[in-house]
């Protein structure tokens, strides 16, 4: 496995990029460091979604809920309890994965579109509860000024921490995708009936994939809190989930690294173009349209020529 990774042609570019990212903070202005850190968090979130969408073939249309749950859990634990901070950091992903188990367990009985619909409604319910429960969650205002461990108190410290966690998570995700579980999951995505006929409990495999993905979404949520020190209900709102989904599509959901690219592009556009004009979304929209219309951009966003025959291509 390691040997295979070492001989992969992606190795040297990856090492170079990683090296650049590592030496960046002392050299670049704070703003860039912050933006990169935000990209890392979003990238992790998008990659976690791709585990179920790209590899699992499930229409996880409200993934943001688990991100928000992870963030809120750590926020609440750090502000309302006296437990050590690291406990909060662990609790976030666990809580997110737990919600993933429950919501996933309810939804996985249904297929495709109906899975998506039920998930959107369950997620929206949770958003509504968080949005209104002022006394507990701070409602519309959110929670701010969340304390964090002193090692992470500087932007640079947070940056390295987030990068470290991102790389670790990516490595784990890569392992999972290449494992028997990963190949069974992909087979189930392409032909669930055949899988059942060879003895695979497709539902259960999908549920496991969901729990894993939501765990990582929770990790992303924790990282968000580390970076921003606040949470707000928007994290759980459907529009964010849609944005993450779009990032996956944009970057190419049938590849491993595609979604990260999509995340990077959208965050970068939002931040940099946003400095020059308030109308960054106009530009983003303007960019998506040509990409959409490119003949090569079938189901793979920006990776023309790769696997261009996406799943079954329909909602139902």
């Amino acid at each position: 496995m390691l040997k295979q990774a070492l001989s992969s042609r992606w190795l040297w570019p990856a090492v170079v990029i990683l090296g650049l990212l590592l030496i960046l903070p002392p050299l670049a202005p704070r703003f860039y460091v912050y933006t990169l850190a935000l990209i890392f968090v979003t990238a992790l979130l998008t990659m976690s979604l791709n585990l179920v969408v790209g590899y699992g073939g499930l229409y996880q249309f409200h993934h943001g809920v688990f991100y928000g749950v992870g963030a809120y859990t750590v926020a609440l634990m750090l502000t309302k309890t006296d437990l050590p901070m690291w406990v909060g950091f662990i609790a976030g992903p666990i809580m997110a994965a737990f919600m993933g188990l429950i919501i996933g367990g309810i939804c996985v009985r249904l297929t495709r579109l109906y899975f998506a619909m039920l998930q959107i409604s369950l997620g929206s319910l949770i958003w509504a509860i968080v949005f209104r429960w002022y006394n507990f969650t701070g409602g519309d205002d959110g929670i701010h000024g969340i304390p964090k461990p002193s090692i992470l108190s500087s932007l640079t410290g947070s940056y390295y921490f987030i990068l470290l966690v991102l790389v670790a998570c990516l490595m784990v995700m890569y392992l999972i995708v290449r494992s028997p579980f990963g190949s069974t999951l992909q087979a189930a995505r392409d032909n669930p009936q055949r899988c059942e006929a060879v003895g695979v409990n497709v539902r259960r495999h999908q549920l496991v994939a969901i729990v894993i993905a939501t765990f990582f979404a929770g990790v992303a949520g924790v990282l968000f809190v580390v970076l921003e020190r606040s949470v707000f209900p928007d994290l759980l709102f459907w529009i964010l989930s849609l944005e993450i989904f779009i990032m996956c599509l944009l970057g190419g959901w049938f590849t491993f690294t595609g979604p990260m690219l999509g995340a990077a592009i959208m965050v970068a556009l939002r931040t940099f173009v946003g400095r020059y004009t308030e109308y960054w979304t106009l530009i983003l929209g303007g960019d998506i349209d040509p990409v959409d219309l490119l003949p090569a951009a079938g189901g793979d966003g920006l990776y023309p020529g790769k696997v261009a025959t996406p799943g079954q291509g329909s909602w139902w």
């Binding site: 392992l175 190949s183 055949r194 059942e196 060879v198």
Partner: protein, 244 residues
């Protein structure tokens, strides 16, 4: 080994299977024949769990499997190939079979070990026994129709079944491919000690290798017996063989 007793299945008003009976003994090669629409594929779907019978029972090795989902039935030792080719189109031939092998080895939940190195020997062995070794690296959807049907059988073998159910295994094949496939099936039956249940339209094929034949007509079992008995039976001749 397998008993189907008075099984019925309706889809709305249409009664696809209306009292089907079948007995398959261990090590036998049994064929189900009948005109189109007789309910053969429905019967197979009932046995392997894609459908649930409205009435009647299906018993495998003494256990009632009528209400089990497909993946559990597979685990009990029944594997099947489908009438309409149903492989994993985007995976290679090797990967296609490996999915089945990994599942059978209960390794499909393993998260942290690379799949590359797993189940290689078993998968290779299966591919060799069906004659697809040289095509192992090709994408399944690029194979010829005949080869895809063989791949179907290979995937079914991945589950190390005791009973192999083949739904029209030679449909759409040329005469050479057909006899090659039947040879393969005969070989598999003897070498691996498999019990085989299949359905076919090609009568030559059926009468050459089946030890017991069940005839279906309009969802009902007309008769099950040795080939000569079936050939001589008047009802069967009227309904199906049409004066041969």
């Amino acid at each position: 080994m397998l008993q189907v007793e008075a099984v019925e299945k309706s889809f709305g008003d249409f009664k696809a299977v209306d009292g089907a009976n079948l007995r398959v003994g261990k090590g036998e090669v049994v064929a189900v024949i009948g005109p189109n629409g007789a309910g053969k594929t429905t019967l197979f779907n009932l046995i392997t769990g894609q459908l649930r019978p409205d009435r009647g029972r299906i018993i495998f090795k003494g256990e009632d499997i009528s209400r089990l989902p497909p993946y559990q039935i597979c685990r009990k030792g029944i594997a099947r190939s489908f009438q309409i080719v149903d492989v994993f189109p985007r995976l290679t031939v090797f990967e296609n079979v490996r999915v089945a092998v990994l599942s059978q080895q209960r390794k499909s939940y393993r998260l942290f070990s690379p799949a590359q190195s797993m189940a290689v020997a078993e998968t290779k062995e299966i591919l060799e026994s069906v004659g697809l070794s040289d095509k192992a690296g090709e994408i399944a959807s690029s194979l010829s129709h005949g080869d895809q049907k063989i791949l179907e059988i290979a995937i079914a073998l991945g589950g190390q079944p005791e009973l192999l159910i083949l739904d029209e295994p030679t449909a759409g094949m040329s005469p050479e491919e057909t006899s090659a496939t039947m040879e393969l099936i005969r070989r598999l039956a003897t070498m691996r000690g498999l019990t085989i249940l299949f359905c076919e339209h090609d009568m030559e094929v059926v009468f050459s290798i089946a030890q017991s034949i069940m005839v279906m007509h309009q969802g009902r079992t007309l008769i099950q017996g040795k080939p000569e008995e079936v050939r001589r039976n008047r009802e069967v001749q009227e309904a199906y063989l049409g004066g041969e």
